[in-house]
């Protein structure tokens, strides 16, 4: 579903990603862990072309992201084509990024209405269904500012799901939450994984990675230091850097 080959990304002189490879199969949950500044969030943002990569290739569901290859030459995609690619990739942000001027329901309905141009009644029905699925059927008409962090993040997940994505990207979805509220968001993500959604999750929740993840990569300094089955990597890290990191967070 996701294939990344030798991805490089620099901000000015600062090289943030130095050759990342990744393979996530259909229905798989891939967790990405690592210290801050290791480039894991940047890599995630490259997958839906929020960041332009400087070298390498990323494919999602067989489609090259952000570029078109024609006659052995790469052509940058138009903004519209990039937008079309993003429709099938859902993203959940650390800071939720809900639209504060819209109610919870309007947040979830916005993209299917404007982008897919589906009928309002249909979109509404499905939005309520999704909000029910994340346990927020009673919050439909409130504004995001009136919801707790955990509730906002669950709305954000419902909003991403409303576009029926093939792939979901999670950028530290629980890092901005009170410890008490982390569980409710992780539960929603677990259910999503159990339903067979393909997910790439940047997280500090080692427990979640162990329980739900099908694969785990540990990044540091812009490279993948270690990758494998979550249980193996967490219980028995091979690399010194991984051992040091896990010793601190576990």
């Amino acid at each position: 579903m996701v294939r990344a080959e030798n991805v490089h990304k620099s901000f000015g002189h600062l090289e943030v990603l130095k050759g990342i490879d990744l393979e996530v199969r259909h229905g798989e949950v891939c967790c990405v862990i690592g210290p801050s500044g290791s480039g894991k969030s940047t890599f995630l943002r490259c997958i839906n072309h929020l960041e332009k990569i400087n070298a390498g290739r990323i494919w999602v569901d067989g489609d090259l992201i952000g570029y078109r290859e024609r006659g052995g030459k790469l052509h940058e995609m138009q903004a519209k084509e990039v937008a079309a690619q993003r429709r099938s990739i859902g993203m959940v942000f650390q800071r939720f990024n809900l639209f504060p001027h819209m109610t919870v329901l309007e947040n979830v309905m916005e993209a299917p209405l404007r982008v897919r141009r589906e009928s309002k009644a249909q979109v509404r029905e499905r939005a309520i269904e999704l909000l029910d699925r994340v346990g927020l059927a009673n919050k439909v008409d409130t504004y995001p500012g009136q919801c707790s962090g955990g509730q906002q993040q669950r709305v954000a997940i419902a909003r991403a799901l409303a576009m029926r994505p093939k792939l979901m990207l999670f950028d530290e979805p629980t890092s901005a939450l009170d410890p008490e509220l982390v569980g409710e968001v992780l539960d929603v993500m677990k259910n999503l994984a159990a339903d067979g959604m393909t997910m790439v999750v940047v997280t500090h929740e080692i427990g979640f990675a162990r329980e739900v993840g099908d694969s785990l990569i540990f990044m540091d300094g812009g490279v993948v230091v270690e990758a494998g089955a979550p249980r193996d990597v967490i219980a028995n890290p091979q690399h010194e850097r991984t051992q040091a990191f896990l010793a601190k967070v576990l």
């Binding site: 903004a79 937008a83 993003r86 990024n97 639209f99 504060p100 009136q146």
Partner: protein
């Protein structure tokens, strides 16, 4: 609801303390009272105000006509054009396209640099530059010469300057173009005040740039844009008195001033102008209040206060819904 837990200890007596005294407030009230009394005294006893003459003149047909056409209608038109054009220029200024960016910069540079009075004078005298304005292929006569055709005219129509670049239209041109430059800066500040995460979230959902701007960014930017736009509207209301430079004569202040000079009694007319501008500005303030309230949906004191109440209710183990109403 759940008072049984807190009832274990008896509730202490409510605090009855002597409040802090504020002698400064009493002093300032006394000073203010004297000043107001002096002001009222002048209004009532100074015969130069000629209140009866003032009241009669305020509602004379040419004054009311000047108020409606020259002041109110012009303010409305200039602001509508100014805001629309300003929004376009702001978006150009923030665009990725370097050419649009420079054009927008040059526009705001020029129109913010030239005083409105000067600009209005120029607009009223554009007829000196072009006695007739026509639309068609640019440089058509020069191109014609190049190919040996004399007096080639590829024009689809035009107008005589004297018909258009005078009066209301010339005034509108000057005020609206100048206003657009200021509005462009206000809109730009508004757009830049919106959290960049909002744009990212919209783009990640597959919304196009235009949709993101219209549906997500601008509605949130409005919160920042509306208050200074209220300022601009009020300034515009007052700047319509500059229309005399065009010249436009059906305008509030010009008409009152004219009456004052005709009757050799100008001062009451200046007071009348103040009163009219005060009334109009106050009406604008009311309008601004409602517009601001509309665009603060999901933000602001109310939402935050309600959230605090819910939080409190939750902490005390009570049902939030019961209190939050």
């Amino acid at each position: 609801m759940s008072t049984d837990v807190t009832d274990v200890r008896a509730r202490p007596e409510p605090i009855k303390a002597v409040p802090v005294r504020h002698p400064g407030r009493w002093v300032s009230i006394a000073v203010l009272a004297v000043l107001i009394a002096m002001f009222v005294h002048v209004l009532l006893t100074n015969s130069a105000f000629h209140w009866r003459f003032l009241k009669e003149s305020m509602f004379r047909p040419p004054v009311v006509d000047g108020l409606l056409r020259g002041t109110l209608l012009m303010t409305l038109c200039a602001m509508v054009v100014g805001v629309a054009l300003g929004a376009v220029i702001a978006v150009m200024r923030l665009s990725d396209n370097p050419i649009l960016r420079s054009v927008a910069w040059a526009y705001t540079w020029f129109f913010r640099s030239v005083p409105r009075l000067v600009l209005l004078t120029i607009c009223g005298n554009l007829g000196i530059l072009w006695s007739r304005v026509e639309f068609g292929v640019p440089f058509d006569t020069q191109l014609g010469k190049l190919f040996g055709i004399s007096a080639l005219h590829l024009r689809i129509g035009g107008f005589t300057s004297r018909d258009v670049f005078t009066g209301f239209f010339a005034g509108l041109l000057g005020l609206a173009l100048s206003e657009a430059a200021y509005m462009a800066e206000i809109v730009r500040a508004g757009i830049q005040s919106v959290d960049p995460g909002q744009g990212e979230a919209a783009e990640a959902l597959g919304l196009t740039r235009g949709q993101t701007l219209r549906r997500i960014i601008l509605p949130q930017a409005m919160r920042v844009i509306v208050p200074p736009t209220g300022n601009e509207t009020m300034a515009m209301l007052k700047d319509t008195s500059l229309l005399i430079a065009v010249p436009v004569t059906y305008e509030l202040f010009f008409q009152l001033d004219a009456i004052g000079h005709k009757k050799f009694d100008p001062f009451p007319m200046y007071v009348a102008a103040c009163l009219w501008y005060l009334v109009l500005s106050s009406l604008l303030l009311v309008g601004q209040y409602f517009i601001e309230r509309h665009f603060s949906r999901g933000y602001g004191q109310q939402a935050r206060a309600r959230m605090r109440l819910r939080g409190l209710a939750a902490e005390q183990g009570g049902g939030g819904e019961g209190i939050a109403t």
